[in-house]
Each structure stands twice: as structure tokens, then as C-alpha cells.
């Protein structure tokens, strides 16, 4: 039984096929990268997995049970947490409160503000947000906003984490830190990672497997090496790849 599995998922927006017959799986403990040119359907796929909207056809299973048709908060409680490509922090709430929301309402939801506060302190330490507990999330600089997205998602105690371009806007040394952090999440905390990323070097560096989407279709899949040598992928990316 696969951990997260999609079978023939399709999604149209008006006449545009954002996803057509996409099938993939992510096993427990894997780091899987999802790449593709702009408009390939990567964020749409994340939104379908998180039940922001239902697919037109196809099903998605978590631990063998169907999750399509549920609501996003069920998905989070079921063990899938996500970050957003365009950061969606609770802007007028403090950094600490933002993370507390994840702890209070996530997979192991509970009602203790004290425990949530303590977990929030630990995650601020883990993600490098120490000293920013009281700052309104809306006034964080972009790198810290990304850290907060990650900390908040981790507070929900996910089994699998969907990262949507969590490294966008980071400088090269911050990207290096983020890569190490993602590996620690898997190696030390046992969290499965499914990540969309535009920075080729980093996604190739950390992923066990890569899935490539183009115009809503899955054009390739395999180890980073296989994918980078695949002619279809090279063609899709020609003139698009920007090495960082």
C-alpha cells in the first residue's frame, strides 16, 4: 500500500486542462520533488491533494483510504500539512500565535495554549525565528515569512509535508540552510516530503525521486539523474532552466 497515491487525476479550469490524468505516488519517508515549467499544474496538484477544490476525475488516497471529497481541515488533521507558494500567514497575529494555530488545530489537536506556546517556542528555535515571537507575521521579511510558513506547517505534526516553493526568494546561503533543514525533517523527524521547487540545484540535491509535469501532463519521473537526462524534460525546460 502506497502512502500518498493519486490515480488519473484531472482538473479543468474553464477550457484549460490544469491537470490531465496525473498518477503518482509518494512512499513513506521519501523526499519527492515536483518540477515543471510555470503553469505546469504543480500548485493545482497541491490544491487538489489538500481538497481546496475537488478533481474533475480521479482519486487521491492517503494510507489507502480515499481523501478526495473531504475538506481542507480534515486533510490537515489527517496528517498532510502544506506551505503556500505566496505566503499566507495570519498577518495581524504574532509569529508565536501563527505557530500555535498549527499546534492547536493540526493532527494532534488539543486545547492547551500552554503546550501550544511551548511547541511554538521550539519550532521558532528550529526554523531560526528566535526573538521574533511577538512580531506581527505581516511585517516579517520574505525569508522569515517562509520560515514561519514552515514552522506553522510543522506545528500541525504532519506525516507528510507539501512544500510549495519554500525556497523562493532566498539567497544562496539561505537555500543551503533550507536544504539541510528539509533533510533533517526527513532523517530526524521521519516526515515524508513532497516539494515543488524551481531552484533545480536544490531540488535535484535533496530529492530521492522527481516527478515532472508539463501543461498538466506528467512527462517524466525517476531519480534526479534519470530525469535530468530525459530528452522530454530537457525539451520542456529548454530556455527555461536557470541554474542558481
Amino acid at each position: 500500500m502506497r502512502f500518498l497515491e493519486a490515480e488519473n487525476v484531472s482538473k479543468h479550469f474553464g477550457g484549460v486542462a490544469a491537470l490531465s490524468n496525473v498518477s503518482f505516488h509518494v512512499d513513506k519517508g521519501e523526499i519527492v520533488g515536483l518540477i515543471g515549467p510555470n503553469g505546469a499544474g504543480k500548485t493545482t496538484l497541491f490544491n487538489v491533494i489538500c481538497c481546496v477544490y475537488p478533481p474533475d476525475s480521479g482519486i487521491i488516497k492517503l494510507n489507502g483510504s480515499k481523501i478526495t471529497g473531504l475538506k481542507p481541515h480534515h486533510i490537515c488533521k489527517g496528517g498532510i500539512a502544506r506551505t503556500f507558494q505566496i505566503t499566507k500567514s495570519f498577518g495581524n497575529m504574532s509569529v508565536r500565535e501563527n505557530i500555535m494555530i498549527g499546534s492547536l488545530f493540526g493532527k494532534e489537536s488539543h486545547g492547551s495554549l500552554r503546550i501550544a506556546g511551548e511547541e511554538s517556542r521550539q519550532l521558532m528555535e528550529f526554523t531560526g525565528l528566535i526573538g521574533k515571537a511577538g512580531i506581527p507575521a505581516g511585517s516579517l521579511i520574505s525569508a522569515d515569512a517562509r520560515r514561519l510558513e514552515l514552522a506553522r506547517a510543522l506545528a500541525a505534526k504532519p506525516e507528510i509535508l507539501l512544500l510549495d516553493e519554500v525556497m523562493a526568494g532566498l539567497n544562496p546561503s539561505e537555500v543551503g540552510e533550507a536544504m539541510k533543514l528539509i533533510q533533517r525533517l526527513r532523517n530526524e523527524m521521519g516526515i515524508t516530503i513532497f516539494m515543488v521547487e524551481h531552484i533545480m540545484k536544490s531540488v535535484m540535491g535533496v530529492s530521492d525521486r522527481i516527478i515532472v509535469l508539463e501543461s498538466g501532463r506528467q512527462i517524466a519521473g525517476g531519480t534526479p539523474k534519470e530525469v535530468s537526462e530525459n530528452p522530454a524534460v530537457i525539451e520542456a525546460y529548454l530556455g527555461e532552466v536557470r541554474e542558481t
Binding site: C50, H73, F84, K88, S89, L104, F105
Partner: protein, 314 residues
């Protein structure tokens, strides 16, 4: 004295003065306080939903009026004061949850217009019912309790409302509501059951408005749809909460008190000037002080603390 102890002491002092007031104050002040307490209940009740979730509801009059009408229906059959209050609150609370199912899917200005429209709809339906079906407009309610009883019951209800608003804000429930206000999509993705949270706080908020309506029906002794479902009630409450601040219960208390006193002083003699001035004040407030009077007070307080700390250092 710590700031927490000082806050408690101030509240205890206010409560003591309020509780002993009927022993020595002239009747006029009791009437004035009854009206202030009514507005406090409505405005604090209003922020439990609208202040915390950011969904601006203009259905205050619907819930207030429904509470009043429970008194109209029950009082002639069973004249028990506590019974009509509880019935009025519960009726409004359940009605809110009922209309909340469809309404709370809509956001922003559409939600505001929808709630105002619904409130007016309830008013016209009850008007049609009274004129066409019952054949008489309005009901006179006799045999209500004395001013002191009204006064003390409103203090109790106001206290419960304030304590509820406090606990809702400072628990998991409140953080969930605030996350909906900040970003509903992210709240849902973080595991907050936004639909259930919105419904619960909408119902809770209407419960207190219903309590107030049920009490005031007996106080006013005459109720018809234009009195009970008067949209001016809604606008007053909204203005009071925005004027005072909607972040916690202190804002609407200040807003309700200040505006009731001003309206008592000028509103009766110069009603149109008063309304015009109120409108201009509201526009200026929303434009320049979105956190209300309470926001100004806490900013001054923080500045004083910082200045004090700097003085201590130098």
C-alpha cells in the same frame, strides 16, 4: 500593585458602584444605565462574532427583535421574567445557526448586505403577519418587573456577555476565530474547521442579542416590528463597536457608554445634527483609527511605558 491586580481592582470598584447605585441614585440615572447596559450587551455580543472573525454582520436588529418577539409570544401566557429572557436568547441563537449555514459561505461586502437584507426581511414578514393574519399591529406588554429588577438583570446579562467575550478571545476558540479573520484559506489548511467555528460564534453572538431583546420588550412595554427590528439598532451597535474598538470586550463597552451619553446629551435635542456628526466621526475613525478608541488608549499607554523605561535607563 501588579497591573493584573490593578485591573481586577478597577473592575471590582466599577461593579460595586453599579450594584449599589439603585440605593442612592435618582431614577433618571438608573434609566440611563439601563439603556447603556442594553447597548453594552449588544455591542459586546456583536464583537464575539464580527469583531473576532472579521465578518461584519448587520443582522443585530433581527436577533434583538426575535428576542423581543419571544417575550411578546410567551409573556401573556406565562409571565415569568427569567423564562422569557432564556427563550429569547435561545430563539435568536438557533435562528442565527439556521441562517448561518447558507449565509456564512459568503464573504466581504456581500455578507454585510445579505445580513442587512435578511434583517429587513424578518421585519417585513412579521409586519405582514401582524397586519394580515393577526389583524392588529403591535402588542402592549403589561405587568413587567420594576426598574431595579431590569437594572440588575441587565447587569447580570452584561457580565455574562463580557466574561464570555473574554474567554472566547483567550482560548483555542478565539485563536481559531482570529485566524479566520486573518486568512480564512490558511486557517482551513491549518486544520481549523472554519464553518463550525463561524457558526458557533454567530450563534453565541445572537444569543446575547436575544437576551437583550427579550428584556427590553418588557421595559419598553410596547413592541411592534418597526420597534423590535429597527435597523437603527444595528447601525448604533456597529458604530459603537467600531468607535470603541473590536479587538476585545473593552472597546464596545467604552463605545456603548460614550455614545449613549453623547446621544442622551445632544441626540434628543438635535437629533439630525447628532446623526450627521456620528456619520462623520465614523468615517474619520475608520479612515484614521481603525482600532477605535481602545487602540488609541493602548497606544498612549504603551508610549507612556516606553518613556518611563527610557527615563529609568538615563
Amino acid at each position: 500593585m501588579t497591573s493584573r491586580a490593578r485591573t481586577l481592582a478597577i473592575w471590582a470598584a466599577i461593579l460595586t458602584i453599579l450594584l449599589t447605585l439603585p440605593l442612592y441614585a435618582p431614577g433618571y440615572y438608573i434609566s440611563l444605565l439601563i439603556s447603556i447596559l442594553m447597548w453594552i450587551i449588544l455591542a459586546v455580543g456583536w464583537i464575539i462574532f464580527s469583531g473576532y472573525t472579521g465578518y461584519i454582520s448587520l443582522a443585530v436588529a433581527a436577533f434583538f427583535g426575535l428576542g423581543s418577539y419571544m417575550t411578546v409570544i410567551i409573556w401573556p401566557i406565562l409571565p415569568s421574567f427569567p423564562l422569557v429572557i432564556i427563550a429569547g436568547g435561545l430563539a435568536s441563537g438557533f435562528f442565527a445557526i439556521l441562517i448561518g449555514f447558507p449565509c456564512l459561505r459568503i464573504r466581504g461586502p456581500y455578507f454585510i448586505i445579505l445580513t442587512l437584507g435578511l434583517s429587513e426581511l424578518v421585519k417585513y414578514i412579521s409586519q405582514i403577519y401582524e397586519v394580515r393574519v393577526r389583524g392588529a399591529l403591535g402588542t402592549i406588554l403589561l405587568g413587567g418587573p420594576s426598574s431595579e429588577v431590569f437594572y440588575y438583570s441587565l447587569i447580570i446579562i452584561a457580565a455574562i456577555t463580557v466574561v464570555t467575550a473574554y474567554f472566547v478571545k483567550n482560548t483555542k476558540f478565539g485563536l481559531g476565530l482570529f485566524s479566520i479573520k486573518a486568512n480564512e484559506e490558511a486557517a482551513e489548511a491549518m486544520g481549523v474547521d472554519t464553518t463550525r467555528y463561524k457558526l458557533l460564534s454567530f450563534g453565541l453572538s445572537a444569543l446575547f442579542m436575544g437576551f437583550a431583546g427579550a428584556v427590553m420588550a418588557l421595559r419598553w412595554t410596547y413592541i411592534d416590528p418597526t420597534v423590535a427590528f429597527n435597523p437603527l439598532i444595528t447601525f448604533q451597535v456597529t458604530i459603537m463597536a467600531i468607535f470603541g474598538g473590536m479587538e476585545d470586550f473593552r472597546g464596545p463597552i467604552i463605545g456603548a457608554t460614550v455614545l449613549t451619553l453623547i446621544s442622551e446629551a445632544f441626540g434628543i435635542r438635535y437629533p439630525y445634527h447628532y446623526m450627521g456628526l456620528l456619520g462623520i466621526t465614523l468615517i474619520l475613525l475608520v479612515k484614521f483609527l481603525p482600532t477605535g478608541l481602545m487602540g488609541v488608549i493602548s497606544r498612549l499607554y504603551i508610549r507612556k511605558k516606553i518613556v518611563g523605561a527610557l527615563d529609568a535607563v538615563s
